[in-house]
Amino acid sequence: MAVQVPRRLRRGARGRARSLASLAEALLTPHGMDRYLELLDPMLVRREIRGVVTAVRRQTADTVTLTVRPSRAWRGFSAGQYVRVSVDIDGVRRTRCYSPTCSEHGGQLELTVKAQENGLVSGHLHRHAAPGMVLGLSQPAGEFTLPAPRPRRVLLISGGSGITPVLSMLRTLVDEGHRGEVVFLHYANTAADVLYGAELTELAQRHPGLRVVLAYTHERGGDLHGFFEPAQLREVAPWYREAQTYLCGPLPLLDSVRATFGSEGLSEQLHTEEFTPPPVPADGAAHGQVRFTHSGREIANSGKPLLEQAEDAGLRPEHGCRMGICFSCTKVKTSGCVRNARTGELSPEDNVEIQLCISVPVGDVEINA
C-alpha cells in the first residue's frame, strides 16, 4: 500500500483543487471549463463523461467488442445496467443504450455491439470502431441489477446479444468469489454466433459452482437444442424455484420464459431486461397515446402538432411563433417517434429535443412537458 496521507492534509489539497476549479469556471464563464479542456484533449473533460476506445476485437462476423476507458467523471456501474453511448455520424450525434459486459469491479468498460440490419449506430461502430475513437457516455441507468447481498443461487438466461448484461453479472459474481451456484444458460442460433464462447467455457472450468449451458436454436451440437422449453429449466437448474433469475434477450424468449415463471407463481423471482429497437412508424391515420410526463397528462393522439395536442390536454407549454422558427417550444421527447411537419423527417430516437409546434406524433409518444 502507498504511503498514508493524513486525512486533514488530503482534504486541504482537495479543497484547494476545488476552489481552483471554481475560480477557473468563473474565469471561463459563460462556456465553462470543459469547452476549453476538450480542445486540448476530448478526454480531459471534468463534468461530461467520455470514453476512449483502447482495444477492439471482433468475436463474430456481425459484432464488435470495444474496451473503453471512461473519463474522470465516470463513477462506475452495477452489473446489468446500461449506459448511453453517443457517436457523431454525418454531423449528427446519435445515441444508443448498451449494457457493459465487463465486471462492475475495475475502472474499464467493455461493450459488445451487434450490427443490426440498417442499424445506424451499431453499423457505424461495427465498421469504424478503432483504438483512439472517443465516445460520449452517460452515467449508468437501469434497475436490472443483482441485489446485495448476492443471492446464493443465480440463474442467468440470455439470447443472442442479450448476453451483455447477464455476462456482466456473471463476471461480477466471479470477481467477488461468489460461493453459491450459478447457471448461465445462453441461446444462440449456431455455435458460430456464440459470443464469449471460449471465455465462458474457461470460466466454467475454473469455477466448480458455475455451469455454462449453450443452446443452439438452428443447429445441433450444443448442450441443448432448439428454443426455450420449461423442461430445460428442470434439466439445467433443478433448483430454479429457490433462485433469482435474470433474463435478457429477444422478445419471444422473454415471453416464453415469463409465461413459464408466471404459471408457476415465480414472477417475483424473475428479473428481465428488454432491448426494444426504435419503433418503425406506421403511416396513415393518427394512433397511439401522447403522454406528457412532467404533468402526468395523457391523451389519444389526434394527429395534430404536439403543441396543439398539449393545449388540448389542458397544458400551457411555452411557445412563441407556432411556426417552427423561434425554438421556444423545444422539449425533450423521452420516447416514441415524431414526424417534423416541415421537413417530413422522422425522429425515432429517445431523449432528443424536438419543437412541439411542428412535430406530429407517430404512434405512442412521451414528452417531458
Binding site: 412563441g320 422558427i325 423561434c326 419543437q355
Partner: protein, 375 residues
C-alpha cells in the same frame, strides 16, 4: 407607400412562398458533417483567440502586447456573439443533437442572458419583423427608427441616443429584455419580469465579475491596464454589433408594416415581409464571418434556422426569385448602408413621416398582371 397586401396577387404570393420553401428544403436536406466541422472550427478559433488575448494582457505593460491582446479578445467576443452565439441560439445546429450546439443550452459572452434573448429576438423580433408596435427591435424602445413611430420632442435626442446605444450596446440588449417601455405604458406588470430580472442579475454578475474584477485582479499591478483592455474589447464588439444590426434593418428603403397588414398572414406573406424588412451588406468572406453572416440579413430572416454559412451560397438564388416577382432586394456596401442609417437617425429626430405619403409607382408585378387581364 405600397401596402404589404398589394405587392403581389394571392397566387403570386403563394407561388413565391413555395419557391422559398423548396429552397429551404433543399438546403436542409443537404446539411451534414461539413456544417458541423465549420462551426466547431470556428468555436476552436474563438476559444484560441480568447485564451491568447487574455494571456497577452498579462504582459500588458508592453504596449504591443496590450494592443494585440485587446485585438484578439475583441475578435473572440465578436465571433462568440455573432457567427457562433447568435446563430447557434437560433437553432441552426439543433439538428446535430450535439448539446454544446443546442439552441436551448448555449450561453454567450455578453451581458444579456441567452434565455431572455431567445424570447425577445428569436420569437418577438423574428416573428413580427418590422411590424410597428410589435417588433421591439424597431428603435429598441429608445430610438425613432421608423416614420410610423409618432414624433415626440424626446426624439430630438435621437442621434445622441443612437451613439450611446452603439457604445453600450451589450447593456442595451440586456435591458431590452426587460421591456421597460411596456411597463411604462402599463402593458406589462413589473412582477411579470421577476424571472427575467433574476436571470439578468445572475448573468451580468458573472460577466462583469470576470472582465472587470477577476482578470484584472489576477494580473496584479497591471489591473488597471487589464480592466481597460477588457473594456476596450467589449466596446469594439458593441460598436461592431450595433453597426451590423442597424445596417441589416434600418437603411432607407427597408419597409415597416402595420399590425392590420399582417393579420392572418400566410407563410408566403411572412416570407415576403422578411424580404421587404431586411437589408444585406456586401463584403468579402471574412467580413461575412465577422458579421455572423448577418450581412446576409435577408437570407437570415427568411431562414433563421439554417446554418448561416449557407446564406452566401443561396443569396444569388434568393435575389433571382425576388427579381422574378418584382420585389426589391436591398443590398449595399457597409459604407453606404451606414450612411443611410445615420441619415435616417438624424432625419427622424425631427417631426415628419407617414403623413406625407411619397408618390410611388404601383409595383410592377401587380400592374403587369392587371394589364394581362385587360388584354
Amino acid at each position: 407607400m405600397t401596402g404589404l397586401q398589394d405587392r403581389l396577387t394571392p397566387e403570386q404570393v403563394e407561388a413565391f412562398g413555395r419557391e422559398m420553401d423548396e429552397l429551404r428544403q433543399r438546403i436542409v436536406a443537404d446539411l451534414g458533417k461539413e456544417d458541423v466541422d465549420y462551426i466547431q472550427n470556428l468555436i476552436r478559433t474563438q476559444r484560441a483567440l480568447e485564451v491568447v488575448g487574455r494571456g497577452l494582457l498579462f504582459a500588458g505593460f508592453f504596449p504591443p502586447a496590450w494592443i494585440a491582446g485587446v485585438g484578439a479578445l475583441s475578435l473572440s467576443k465578436i465571433l462568440d456573439n455573432m457567427e457562433i452565439g447568435h446563430n447557434v441560439m437560433h437553432g441552426q445546429y439543433d439538428w446535430t443533437r450535439i448539446p454544446e450546439l443546442s439552441s436551448q443550452r448555449f450561453e454567450w459572452d455578453t451581458l444579456a442572458p441567452a434565455e431572455n434573448w431567445r424570447h425577445s429576438h428569436n420569437y418577438v423580433h423574428h416573428t413580427y419583423t418590422n411590424v410597428l408596435d410589435k417588433d421591439r427591435d424597431i428603435g429598441y424602445g429608445i430610438l425613432r427608427m421608423d416614420e410610423g413611430q409618432k414624433w415626440h420632442p424626446y426624439y430630438l435626442g435621437n442621434p445622441v441616443y443612437a451613439t450611446l446605444l452603439a457604445i453600450f450596446f451589450q447593456w442595451g440588449v440586456m435591458l431590452h429584455d426587460l421591456e421597460v417601455e411596456k411597463v411604462l405604458k402599463g402593458e406589462r406588470k413589473v412582477s411579470e419580469l421577476k424571472e427575467v430580472r433574476a436571470r439578468i442579475l445572475r448573468k451580468a454578475g458573472r460577466q462583469l465579475g470576470k472582465d472587470y474584477l477577476l482578470f484584472p485582479a489576477l494580473t496584479g499591478p497591471l489591473a488597471p491596464l487589464t480592466f481597460l483592455g477588457n473594456a476596450t474589447a467589449n466596446l469594439t464588439r458593441n460598436l461592431w454589433a450595433f453597426a451590423i444590426i442597424f445596417c441589416g434593418h434600418f437603411p432607407a428603403d427597408v419597409e415597416s408594416f402595420t399590425e392590420e397588414e399582417t393579420e392572418n398572414e400566410t407563410r408566403g406573406q411572412w416570407y415576403l415581409r422578411q424580404i421587404l424588412g431586411s437589408a444585406n451588406i456586401e463584403g468579402g468572406k471574412l467580413f461575412h464571418i465577422l458579421s455572423g453572416n448577418l450581412s446576409h440579413q435577408i437570407e437570415h430572416h427568411l431562414f433563421p434556422d439554417i446554418p448561416a454559412r449557407r446564406y452566401p451560397e443561396i443569396a444569388g438564388e434568393v435575389r433571382a426569385i425576388c427579381a422574378k416577382y418584382g420585389l426589391p432586394y436591398h443590398a449595399g456596401p457597409l459604407r453606404k448602408q451606414l450612411a443611410s442609417v445615420a441619415k435616417k437617425i438624424v432625419k427622424l429626430a425631427l417631426p415628419g413621416g407617414r403623413s406625407e405619403p411619397s408618390p410611388e409607382p404601383e409595383p410592377a408585378t401587380v400592374k403587369r398582371e392587371r394589364e394581362l387581364t385587360a388584354a
